[in-house]
Structure formats: structure tokens, C-alpha cells
Symmetry: none
Subunit: 273 residues, 2 copies
């Protein structure tokens, strides 16, 4: 089978000419070069009618054959990014100038308004289970306790936005029913049951869409997702809810304003608003 030889004795493969291409990366060499060139074109490195490197030149700098370099250029041509003419070379076709690094355009939703009632909620699961170890620890529960688990998908304009898995200690979970969750936020239900919400710990990270989540959010398996994990405490510091929310990054962005904290070496920013 041979899954990567593991370079038995620490013998570095002595790659000399190979400028930053990684053959062990599982992505075809020509495609790596294609991405590098596209990146340079997008960022305007080849202004106007300047010529891209020739096939031979690319082959030399990246340590590949001319055919491989040619394929990278051909892929650019197939995308309409460059024009190629025999004897002349390869030049940038259209002034692309895209790549929205800054989001905000398009139909991106921001944090707060989304919490409003403009969204539709579908409940995929509502049951009582033994919690995963991490959840049990976060909620400071005893060993053999059950929790109320709910899996929800939130949509805006019919397009999935987030996939939520929430865990609530069973005694609190009894205070609401499956149908309630479709209409009101979980926190509101807990407050209705007399819980005095205090603070929350929140961790923001990134993960990949697995099969179930991908289906629910209508994205490809392996798509990136923004993951927010939140543990909510009441005013006595008792944990009352543990929730993981997975957002489609093309539909949702977590935006915030920061203000500079003067005179502190370690703490640079303080959130505002």
C-alpha cells in the first residue's frame, strides 16, 4: 500500500530546485502551480499586458517538466484568465481584480439581526440522551445523568444558515416541548422556566462539514464551517446550556467592532457594541 514512505531515516529528499511545491500534498503539481499563478493574477501582480512566465521558465523554477507547467497555463486559459499565442507567450486576459477578501457584500448575514424572527427553524431531533463526555464536563454533570438534546437547522429565505446541537440538563429540558423550540429561542424558553441567565463562555473555531451536517446545510461534504461553542450559566454560575452552532460562512459572518485599550501591553483590544 505504501502511504507516504515516512522518509525512514530523516533523509531530507534534498529538494533543491523545487520552489515551494509539495509533492506529498496530494494535489496535482500542475494544479498547485495553477493556483499560485491565479493568486498572483488576482492580486494584480501581472499588470495590463505583461507576459506570464513561459512554460520552460515555470518548469525550471518549480522543478517540473514542461508538460506539467503547460497544463497549469492551459488550466488558466480554460478559465479564461489568460490568453496564449504561439511564439508570443501567455498574457493576462481580463482585468479580474476580484476575490472579495472583505465579505459583507452579497447576502451575508451578520450576528444580531439574525437572532430575530425572520428565520425559519426546523427541528431534526429532540430527545433525551446520555451526553458526550465533553458536554457532560462543560455542564458539570454527574456521571449517569441524561440531558435534553435538540438538533436544529435555521434557514433564511429557504437557504440553510446554521446547524445547532444543544444540550440542556434534563430537569430544565422538561420545561419545554419540541414544538416550543420551533417558535422561540432556547434562552427565552429557559427564562420562561424561571432560569436567570447570567453569563456565557464562547469559543469560536472552524471545522469541516461531515455527511449529516452537509446534507442539512445543503453544502458539500468537507466544506468549511464556522463553529461557535457556547456554555451558558445562570446568575449563580450554574451551567444551564451547552450549544454548538455550525454556520455556513458564505451565509453568516461574525462581525464586531473593537476599541483600542491604551497602555496595556498584553491586552490590545476591548470589544464594543
Amino acid at each position: 500500500m505504501r502511504l507516504r514512505p515516512k522518509s525512514s531515516l530523516g533523509v531530507r529528499p534534498s529538494k533543491r530546485a523545487t520552489l515551494r511545491l509539495d509533492p506529498g500534498l496530494r494535489t496535482p503539481l500542475y494544479h498547485q502551480i495553477y493556483i499560485l499563478l491565479r493568486e498572483q493574477i488576482m492580486s494584480g501582480a501581472y499588470g495590463d499586458d505583461a507576459l506570464l512566465p513561459t512554460e520552460f521558465s515555470l518548469a525550471r523554477t518549480y522543478g517540473v517538466s514542461r508538460i506539467t507547467a503547460k497544463r497549469a497555463l492551459d488550466e488558466l486559459k480554460a478559465e479564461g484568465l489568460v490568453e496564449r499565442r504561439r511564439g508570443r507567450g501567455t498574457s493576462v486576459a481580463k482585468r479580474v481584480e476580484s476575490r472579495p477578501v472583505d465579505a459583507n457584500l452579497s447576502g451575508l448575514i451578520e450576528n444580531l439581526l439574525m437572532m430575530g424572527l425572520e428565520t425559519a427553524v426546523e427541528i431534526l431531533a429532540f430527545d433525551y440522551v446520555a451526553p458526550p463526555e465533553a458536554v457532560r464536563a462543560a455542564l458539570s454533570l454527574a456521571d449517569a445523568v441524561e440531558v435534553q438534546r435538540a438538533v436544529r437547522v435555521r434557514r433564511l429565505d429557504g437557504v440553510p444558515l446554521s446547524y445547532t446541537v444543544s444540550h440542556v440538563p434534563a430537569e430544565l429540558g422538561r420545561s419545554y416541548q419540541r414544538a416550543d423550540l420551533a417558535k422561540a429561542p432556547l434562552l427565552a424558553l429557559l427564562e420562561r422556566a424561571g432560569v436567570l441567565i447570567g453569563s456565557a463562555d464562547q469559543t469560536i473555531s472552524a471545522t469541516l462539514a461531515g455527511p449529516e451536517v452537509a446534507t442539512a446545510l445543503e453544502v458539500q461534504v468537507g466544506s468549511p464551517l464556522l463553529a461557535i461553542t457556547r456554555t451558558v450559566f445562570d446568575q449563580n454560575g450554574r451551567p444551564v446550556e451547552h450549544i454548538v452552532i455550525l454556520y455556513r460562512p458564505d451565509r453568516y459572518a461574525y462581525r464586531m467592532k473593537l476599541a483600542r485599550v491604551q497602555g496595556s501591553a498584553t491586552k490590545l483590544w476591548s470589544p464594543t457594541s
Copy 2:
């Protein structure tokens, strides 16, 4: 040559069962599945002695042959992440327990202290370029202006933590040199140059590692990354810096404490500290 047939007549290949793995991603199918499974293992989705899906089950859910599914599992085994026994199935080998759902344990770095000087910075690029359109817009620059661009990788204990691309208006960029960036944070350099830092807009999202970033961060292509895009303004509201930071989610988590805002229907939380 045939670079992707372009599906001549709009004839969709009728992929039915294929639960949306991406064949156009140029990454082998077995490796895509490997990345997904590793991601799930790392995030503790298979607690304790739970079994991973069988080869046949994987083959069915992803619409590939059993051999391909087997290879994904074999690759996990080669990495020492799982144990496989005939007739029994595939189980998680070592309690990896990295990527704790709740952060904070293990070697996870939090936001603020990291900005300190415990980390080593490598500068991959330091030049003056025409900015990408999105950056130009964010910095409110005129059309044909150059900006100072820096690409950096930050490491802690020798392991890459973040990949940073920063753009600063050229006149401000002249105030520091390449070597300065390796020693002090960009904001400190700007303040040294007389800039009075005011506020910042920040967007948090998720993305996938491309070849260049993957190499720099020593992760696989297609791994999830936490993406923070920040535009910094001086006290007059003039933009002075645009920066995109890509974090390895297994090494860095964005944590925050939230306090409940009472009596507001739309605004539920207010950040504290």
C-alpha cells in the same frame, strides 16, 4: 489534453448516491474522506471505544468503492489515529483529545497572551504591490496606489499557529522595515510612527487551506481554518491597516465571555473582557 470536459451539453453526470464529495477538488477521494474522519476524531465525535463507520458503510455514504473507503481508514491507521481489527471494526487508538470541544485545555492558545512575545515570526513576503480590489476598497484608497504587503507565519513551540497577510498604505509602510516586523507587532510599529490607533472592524469566518497556506501552516490541503479579517482605523476614522489572519483551529481558539443584556429583544449579549 482535455481539461475538464465542461460537460458539453449540460448533461449532468447523474451522480445520485455520491453524497457530495467534490471530485473537482483535485484531491484524491480517499484523502478527502481521510481528512473528514480525522477532523471528526480530533473533535471527539467518536468518544471512548465507539467504532468508526465500517468500510462498507463509508463506501455507501460517500458513494465510492469499498477499496477507496478502506484506503482512507488505512491512512488513519498509518498515522496511528485508529486501530483496526478484522471482524471487529475500526476504533480510535489514542485518546487524542486535542481540539477539546470547550477549548482551554491542551495546548490551545487564547487570543490575548498570544500577542505577547512568546511566539516566533517568520516573514514570507515583504513588498510593495497594487492591492487587490477588496483591500483597496477597505482602505479607501485611490486607484493606482501601492500598499505595503507582508505575509507572516507565527509559531509557538515551533508549530505554526497563524498565517497573516497584511496591507498597509504605502506612506505608512515606509516607517518600518522587514526586520522590524519579525520583532514587534504591526500595530506597535504603526504607533511608533505616530499613528493614533482608534477602532477596528473585525469579521470572523471559516475557510479551507489552499496549497500555499497549507504548506506554511504545515496542515493538509483542505483543512479548516479560522479566518479573521480586520480593518484598523486611526482616531480620525482613517483606515491604516487591513489584515487577514488564518488560524489553525487545533492550535488557536477565539474565546470570549458574554454577559446577558436584559430587556432587549434583538440584542441578547454584550461582550465583556
